[in-house]
Symmetry: C2
Subunit: 246 residues, 2 copies
DNA sequence: TAATTGCTGTGTACCTTATACACAGTTAAT
DNA sequence: ATTAACTGTGTATAAGGTACACAGCAATTA
C-alpha cells in the first residue's frame, strides 16, 4: 500500500505553505527570523551548487545560522520544503504578451523559457519528476501562460492541456539529456558504454549503425529546435484540421 | 562539485554487473546462493508492490532470506542494484519485425510497448529520471528496436536518435501523468488544488477557463493517441521534406 | 500593570538506512 | 592435504529526518 509512505503529509498544510496562506489569527511570541520562502531560497542555493543529494535539513539550517529543528517551525518537513523550493524557483513565469501574435512563437518562447529555468536549477527535474507534487501559485502561472498562448488556436481545453504537456515533456527530457552529457566523468561512462556496444555490435545493429554515423556525438545544433519543430508542426496540423471542421 | 557524490561508483564494475560479465577466473569457495539478476528481481517485486521508496537493502535481503550485508556480494551498492533492476525490468524488448512495414506503425507500437512497461513498473520512471544511469543490454535493445524502425525513413542518424528521444519523452511524461492521477488520495489533492485555483481565478484566467471546460477531468480517450499523432505527424513532415530534398 | 498563552529556537533522543570491516565456514585449485 | 578465494554473518559507524520537551519572549487578556 503505497499510501502509507505519504501518510505523513497533510495536503492542506502543504498547499497552505505553497500559497503563503497565513491564518489571520493573532501572532504572539517572538517574531520568526525568516519566512518559509527564505528557507526555500537557502535550499535552492545549496541544490543549485551541489545538487539535490547535498540538500539536507542540517545544511539548510547551517546556512541560515539556526538549529536543524528550527526549520520545522517554517516547513512541515523536507518534502514540503522541496515543493516550496520548486515553486520558488519558478517565480518569474514568462510574459508572452509582448510577443508577436500567434500561438506558435509564444509556445516556442514558453518552451525556451522553461528550459532556461531547468538549466538554471538542474535539481528541478529530479524534484518534480519523482512524485506528484503540490502545485504552487508560480507553477500555475507557468501553466496559465502556456494555456493562454494556445487559446487562439480554437482547440478545446483538453487539447490545449495535452499540447502543453507535450511541449513540457519534450523540454524536460531534452534538458535531462543535456545535463547528463554536461556532467563530469561522463567521458568515462561513454567510453565504456561504447566499448560494450562494440563488443555486441551484432546484437544491436541499428544502434551500432547510428553510433557509427555519429548520432550520439555532441550535437552541433540545438536539439530543442528539432523537437519543437516536430511537436509544433504536429499541433499545427491539429489546429488546421480542427479549423476546417468547424 | 557534484562529482563527489558519485565518487564511490566504479563505472567499470557497474557496467560489468549490467552486462553480466563474469571474469573467467576459477571460482573457489561456496557457490553463491543467487545471481545478481535474482537479487534485482526481488527488488523489482518490492518496488512494484510498494514503490521505490520502500526499497531498502534490508527489505531485499529479508525477501531473499539472507543478511543485509550478503547483498553486497552480488551488487556493489544500492544505486547499482537499481540500475540492474531497471535493465532487468526492460528485458523483453518489443519485436517490431512482424508488424506491417512502415516506420510509423512500428514506432507507434514501440511507444505503446514502452508505456506498458512503465505502467507495469511505475518506479521505472523515477529510477531512470534521477540520474544518468548506465545502459544495460536490454535498454540498448529497446533503443535498437526504435532506431531500426526509423531506418527506412532515410533520416540521418542524429534525427533518428532525436525522434526516438522525442517519442520516449512523450511516453514518459504521459505515463507519469497517468500514474499520478491513479494514485490514491489524489482526490483530496485535486479538491484542494481546485479550491485554491478558484480563490485566485483572476490571476490565472486561462487555467480557470481550461478547468471550467474540463481539461483536467479524467480523459475519455487515451492521451497517448493525441501526443503520438502530433509527434509522429511532426516526424513525418521531416521525413517528407528530407525525401524531397534528396 | 500583571497574568496568561502561544509562539520561537534549542537540545536531546530515536529511528531508519547504507555500508565498512573483520570473522568463520566452505570448497575448488594446488 | 593444504591453501587461497569466496560466501554469508555480526557488529559498528555515520548520515539524515524528525518527535518531544524545555526555556525564553511578546502580544493578548484580565
Amino acid at each position: 500500500m503505497p499510501a502509507s509512505r505519504e501518510s505523513k503529509r497533510d495536503p492542506g498544510a502543504s498547499l497552505a505553505l505553497l500559497w503563503g496562506e497565513a491564518d489571520g489569527r493573532p501572532r504572539r511570541g517572538p517574531k520568526p527570523k525568516f519566512t518559509p520562502v527564505q528557507v526555500a531560497r537557502s535550499g535552492i542555493e545549496i541544490a543549485d551548487a551541489e545538487g539535490l543529494a547535498a540538500l539536507s535539513m542540517q545544511r539548510v539550517a547551517e546556512m541560515l545560522g539556526v538549529t536543524t529543528m528550527a526549520l520545522y517551525r517554517y516547513v512541515p518537513g523536507k518534502p514540503d520544503l522541496i515543493d516550496l523550493m520548486v515553486d520558488t524557483a519558478l517565480d518569474s513565469p514568462p510574459d508572452l504578451g509582448h510577443l508577436p501574435d500567434g500561438w506558435r512563437p509564444r509556445l516556442d518562447a514558453w518552451a525556451r523559457a522553461c528550459r532556461r529555468v531547468y538549466r538554471a536549477h538542474p535539481w528541478l527535474l529530479a524534484a518534480t519528476g519523482l512524485r506528484r507534487q503540490a502545485m504552487g501559485p508560480h507553477q500555475v502561472a507557468w501553466l496559465d501562460a502556456a494555456l493562454a498562448a494556445l487559446e487562439p488556436t480554437g482547440l478545446d481545453a483538453r487539447r490545449r492541456h495535452d499540447a502543453v504537456i507535450l511541449v513540457l515533456s519534450l523540454v524536460r527530457n531534452l534538458t535531462q539529456q543535456t545535463l547528463d552529457s554536461d556532467e563530469r566523468g561522463d567521458r568515462e561512462w561513454d567510453r565504456l558504454t561504447t566499448r560494450q556496444l562494440a563488443l555486441h555490435a551484432d546484437r544491436f545493429p541499428a544502434v551500432t549503425r547510428a553510433v557509427a554515423e555519429g548520432a550520439f556525438a555532441p550535437a552541433g545544433d540545438d536539439p530543442l529546435d528539432f523537437g519543437l519543430t516536430c511537436v509544433l508542426d504536429g499541433i499545427q496540423g491539429l489546429v488546421e484540421s480542427a479549423g476546417q471542421r468547424s
